[in-house]
Structure formats: structure tokens, C-alpha cells
């Protein structure tokens, strides 16, 4: 899988590359509009991470060009602005997703996985981890081919862990992912314990091994 990261902030770029490399993605980086444009014209990417504010242009301009050339690369717009208008503008221009700075790398990774999966595995949207199977289309999780009954939040939680498998995900990242808009309202994330506890219980009851590990109260890891 090839990913292009268009981001002018060197340190952030470094972090993104470092995290995504661990997912076995081939990452290329462009830190300005010109470089990004050359790369986009020359190669095809599975996903392009596009920063809106570039030193020599607007990232949305690149998106527009991309769509004019009828390229099918997946695009995630990354912006420092958390404004609904910008979000709508980005999505209207054909972006697959929109992410606001600052973000957790695990969140970025989950979004990239989702975009790539949507584009490449049509008709085969299934994730398998040993005895656990996640059917993305039907939103059904089964253990040893037996479907288990998960709530919406528990399903989201498992999927988030699965996308970031073998990575430590902080509690904050999980909480923000699960609560979405509520995260803006509440900053206390005790509630994820309940979800985590229920998810683990349901998986184990269905005969799954214990894959979800707590890492010293810092976060969780889906070890497969």
C-alpha cells in the first residue's frame, strides 16, 4: 500500500511516517504544494493525506486537480481548522475523510485503513484475526464463526483496536474515537472501562483468547 503524506510541518510528518511504516505502508512525503503535485501526477497512491495549509498553496487545490484528472486515490484532508464549512467543502470536493489537528496517530491510522478498505476490498470487507472475524459491511463480529451480539460502541471499539493491532492505543485516543462529538463536551473518559470490560467479556464467552491487553493504565493493545 502506498501512501503520500502532504504536510509542511517536518516533525509531524516524521511522526506520521514513523507510525504508518509500522503498518507496512510505503510512505512518501511532500512538504509543499509543488512537490506534492509532481508526485500526484507521476504516481498513484492508495491514500493521500492532505494538509490544507501549505506554504505555497491550499491543499484543497490539489484535491481539485486530482479530481479533475479523474484520479481515484483515496484522500484524507487534514486541517488545523475545525470548521464545519471547511469540512463540507473538503468532502464536497471528493475527499474521503476529514481530520482535524491535533489528532492521535491511531485515529489517523484507523481512518486510512477505513479509506483503503472502502476503495480496495469491495465485496470482501472482512477482517480476520485468528478466531475473530469482523464483517465490515454487515458490521457483525463472529468468534469461531459464531456471531456475537455487540453494541454499537463495542463494535466501534473492537474495530478501532483491530485497525491498530499490535499498537498501544492511549485511553484518550479510544475515548475520543468513541465519543465523537461528546468528546468536545466531556473530558472524563472513565466510561471506556465499561465498554472495554463488556467487549472483553463477550469475546471470551464466545471462546476467543484474550487479545486485548491493558498497558499499565496508559492504554490498550490488541495483540494478535
Amino acid at each position: 500500500m502506498k501512501i503520500l503524506i502532504v504536510e509542511d510541518e517536518k516533525e509531524l510528518l516524521k511522526s506520521m511516517v514513523a507510525y504508518l511504516k509500522g503498518e507496512n505502508y510505503v510512505c512518501e512525503a511532500a512538504s509543499d504544494y509543488k512537490t506534492a503535485r509532481q508526485k500526484i501526477e507521476t504516481y498513484n497512491y492508495d491514500c493521500i493525506l492532505l494538509d490544507v495549509t501549505l506554504p505555497d498553496g491550499n491543499g484543497l487545490g490539489l484535491l481539485r486537480e486530482l479530481k479533475q484528472e479523474k484520479k481515484t486515490d483515496g484522500v484524507i484532508v487534514i486541517s488545523a481548522k475545525n470548521s464545519i464549512q471547511d469540512r463540507i467543502k473538503g468532502l464536497n470536493l471528493g475527499a474521503d475523510d476529514y481530520l482535524t489537528k491535533p489528532f492521535h496517530l491511531s485515529e489517523l491510522n484507523a481512518r486510512i485503513s477505513a479509506v483503503i478498505r472502502r476503495r480496495h476490498f469491495q465485496g470482501h470487507k472482512i477482517l480476520v484475526f485468528n478466531e475473530i472475524t469482523i464483517d465490515l459491511a454487515a458490521k457483525v463480529v463472529s468468534v469461531n464463526n459464531k456471531a456475537i451480539d455487540l453494541t454499537r460502541k463495542e463494535y466501534d471499539l473492537l474495530l478501532y483496536l483491530a485497525y491498530n493491532k499490535n499498537r498501544v492505543i492511549s485511553k484518550n485516543a479510544i475515548a475520543e474515537h468513541l465519543s465523537g462529538d461528546e468528546a468536545e463536551i466531556f473530558d472524563n473518559f472513565d466510561f471506556i472501562y465499561t465498554h472495554m470490560k463488556n467487549l472483553k467479556k463477550k469475546l471470551q464467552q464466545a471462546g476467543s483468547k484474550e487479545y486485548i491487553r491493558s498497558i499499565y493504565g496508559m492504554g490498550y493493545k490488541f495483540d494478535v
Binding site: 516533525e11 488545523a80 491535533p102 466531556f186
Partner: protein
């Protein structure tokens, strides 16, 4: 006291004193002049009589003569005395009341006999005259003063009109609305200079306001990137192998702190955005529906601490506003009600007659007035979470933009915030 009244009051007092002094003074002066004239005429009459006495040769003749004139009375005198003049009152036969008279009494000698002669002159006409003169005088004075006062007031009003115009404009001026203050030119130099000085002052203020506003927004914006970098490095640090428990805990603490910074920064940005009027789209919002949505979102969080959220709303109230702004406003109020609550407490949300009322249990004392100020935090948070100190400031800002009335009350051991749309 108003400026106009102040100047006019001095004139009024002065005029009143003058009126009070001049009218009696005038009365006495005119009266004494009239009396002197009467006395003079009486003396002349007496002198005339004395000089004409040589033509009277008998006592009978004298009496006959004296009877002809009712203003003269004659009586035998025993001894001679000096002429004297005095005022006396006599019965008026027709009307029956007392009329004032001026009388001169003297002694004359006819044929070797002494007679006391009294010549009198009625003062009734004098008094009438005096009355008329004083009346006319008073009316004139009153008219004069009233006229002066009236003219003065009119002129003053005209002169001070630009001042009042300016005052009115300043009172209505809102710094965040516009830079220019429209102060009309005046024919009076001092007022023009005042207006000029004010305009300069307002322009400077507005510039500083803009700079400050811009600074807040820029600063908050610039912070986003380092915060994002910091967050990403922490995420990477977490992935490093063989972390000890202590290190993991430190990373967790760092992450929580960073999250707080991020939230604070977001709130600052939001405040700046609201101040800059960046939420212009007005749409029809069903406030009851919106509130219910937020309550549903908050329920899970509240349930963790056995805090019950009850809601009751009447008819669906439609409000024209920006729905994100309303969501932020209601969200902040509801989350505050949960955050500053206690285990097993209650939150009651009502919409009644276009007023949103959110009340909650919590600390058992009323909150200080400063609660709507920026960074005024009640406590360092509860187990239900910690605020940024900006939540109510944001609510207050949104309310001021839409001209909603935001209120706080502490009653029945409940903290109640109300927003009247």
C-alpha cells in the same frame, strides 16, 4: 442634575430674589411718594385757609363755611398747638367699612377765638392707584423674567444639542460592532474638538481591540501545530518496546495534560471565532430537539455517577440561529451541570416559554457573580471531570451575540442557569 437645569436654576433663584425684593420695595417707595404728595397738598390747603382767614368776620360765617366742605371739620380749641399730620380710619357710610384718611390738624384764630381745624384727604384712591401700579409692575417683572428664562433655556438647548447628540452616540456605541462612530459636526468649536478627540479615542480603541482579537485567534491557531506534534510524539513514544510502568504512567500524565492544552486551545479559538462573527449562517433550529440530542449524548456520562438527567419541554420552540453555536451553548451548560454535580445528583432541563432552564445539584452555596468570566474556575474539577474555565464565557458570548438573556440563580439548593431566547 441635568446640565440645562443647573444653569437655569441659578437664573431662576436670582430672578425670584429680585422679584421678592423689588415688589415690596416698589410698593413702599410709591406709597411714601403718594403720602408725601397728600401731606403737601394738606399743608398747602391749611396755609391757604390761614391766609384767607382775614375775609371771615364772624364765627357764624366760619361755621357756615366749614360746613360747606365735608373734608373740613372745625371745633373750638382751648389752646394753641403745632400742626400735625396723621393717618386715621373712618366709617364709610355707604359701604360700612373703614376707609383710610390722611388728616392735618391745626389751630386757627378767628375774631380772637381759637379753633382746631382738621382737613382730611381720602387715601382710598391713593391705595387703589398704588395697588394698580404694583400689580402692573409685578406682571411686568414676571413676564420679563419668564421671557429671559425661556430664551435662555432655548439658547442653552440649542448650544448643548451637539453635546447631547455625542453623548447619545457614545452610549449606544459597541466596540465589537463597528470602528466608526458617527458624530455630526457642530457650529461650536469646542464640541467639534470634543468629537475629534472622541473619534481618535474610539479609533485607537478599535485598533487595539482588533489587534487583541487577532492575536487570540492567531496565537490559538499557531498552537495547534506544536500541540499536534507533541501528541504524535507521545503516540510514538507509547509504541516503544519495554516501557516500564513508571514510564507508562508518565506518558499517560503527559498525554492528559496535552489533552487539556488542546481543549483549552480549542475553546480559545472558538471564543475568537464567535467574537469574529464566524458563525453567520442562521437557520431554523428546534431548540427542544437539539437539547434532547445533547441530553441523550450526556446520559451515558452522567450514568457513570448515578446522576439523573430529566427533561421536560413544552411546545417545540423554533429559533433562528446557528445550530452549531446553539449546540455549543446547550452542550456547555449541560456538561457543566453534570460536571459540577455530585454522585447521585440530578440535572433538570426544561424549555418553557422560550426559556431554557438547566438546574443541577452540586455545591451547597450560590456561585459568585464572576462565574461568567473567562478562566474563572470554581474548583479544580470534580471526579466528573475538569473544565477549561471557558465554558460559561463561551455561553455568555453566544448569548450576547444573539441577544439572549443569560441568568443564574441559586434556589432550593439547586444551581439554575436560564437562557431566555
Amino acid at each position: 442634575m441635568k446640565l440645562l437645569n443647573k444653569t437655569i436654576r441659578s437664573y431662576l433663584v436670582y430672578s425670584f430674589i429680585i422679584l421678592l425684593v423689588t415688589v415690596p420695595l416698589f410698593y413702599f417707595v410709591v406709597r411714601s411718594v403718594l403720602l408725601r404728595a397728600t401731606d403737601h397738598s394738606l399743608k398747602t390747603q391749611l396755609a391757604d385757609i390761614r391766609s384767607n382767614l382775614s375775609s371771615i368776620h364772624s364765627q357764624d360765617e366760619l361755621i357756615t363755611w366749614s360746613r360747606l366742605d365735608k373734608d373740613i371739620s372745625l371745633a373750638p380749641a382751648t389752646r394753641a398747638f403745632r400742626d400735625h399730620i396723621y393717618t386715621t380710619y373712618r366709617q364709610n357710610r355707604r359701604r360700612g367699612d373703614q376707609d383710610p384718611y390722611r388728616e392735618i390738624s391745626g389751630v386757627i384764630e378767628v375774631e380772637g377765638n381759637l379753633y382746631e381745624i382738621i382737613i382730611r384727604s381720602s387715601l382710598v384712591e391713593n391705595e387703589d392707584l398704588l395697588g394698580s401700579i404694583v400689580l402692573v409692575q409685578t406682571i411686568l417683572l414676571v413676564l420679563l423674567m419668564a421671557g429671559i428664562l425661556w430664551i435662555n433655556q432655548k439658547i442653552s438647548k440649542n448650544i448643548w444639542k451637539p453635546f447631547y447628540n455625542t453623548l447619545n452616540k457614545i452610549q449606544k456605541y459597541e466596540l465589537n460592532k463597528s470602528a466608526n462612530i458617527d458624530l455630526p459636526a457642530s457650529t461650536i468649536n469646542e464640541f467639534n474638538e470634543l468629537n475629534k478627540a472622541l473619534r481618535n479615542l474610539f479609533n485607537r480603541n478599535y485598533e487595539i481591540y482588533l489587534q487583541q482579537k487577532e492575536f487570540t485567534e492567531n496565537a490559538a491557531h499557531e498552537m495547534q501545530t506544536p500541540l499536534a506534534i507533541f501528541q504524535s510524539k507521545l503516540d510514538l513514544l507509547m509504541q516503544t518496546q519495554s516501557l516500564t510502568e513508571d514510564q507508562a504512567e508518565l506518558i499517560h500524565d503527559l498525554e492528559s495534560t496535552n489533552r487539556r492544552l488542546i481543549r483549552l486551545n480549542k475553546s480559545l479559538l472558538l471564543l475568537a471565532k464567535i467574537e469574529n462573527g464566524q458563525f453567520p449562517v442562521n437557520e431554523e433550529v428546534n431548540i427542544a430537539q437539539l437539547t434532547q440530542k445533547i441530553i441523550d449524548q450526556s446520559k451515558f456520562h452522567a450514568d457513570q455517577y448515578s446522576i439523573s438527567i430529566k427533561s421536560g419541554s413544552e411546545d417545540p420552540s423554533i429559533i433562528k440561529a446557528n445550530s452549531s453555536m446553539l449546540e455549543i451553548m446547550v452542550g456547555n451548560l449541560v456538561s457543566n451541570a453534570v460536571r459540577h454535580n455530585r454522585r447521585g445528583g440530578q440535572v433538570q432541563v426544561d424549555i418553557h416559554q422560550n426559556t431554557l432552564r438547566i438546574s443541577n445539584t452540586g455545591v451547597e452555596s450560590p456561585l459568585p457573580d464572576k462565574v461568567f468570566d473567562r478562566f474563572h474556575k470554581l474548583s479544580n474539577g470534580t471526579e466528573m471531570g475538569e473544565g477549561t474555565g471557558l465554558g460559561l464565557a463561551i455561553v455568555s458570548k453566544i448569548c450576547s451575540i444573539y441577544h439572549y438573556t443569560l441568568g443564574y440563580r441559586y434556589e432550593n439548593k439547586q444551581h439554575a442557569f436560564t437562557v431566555a431566547f
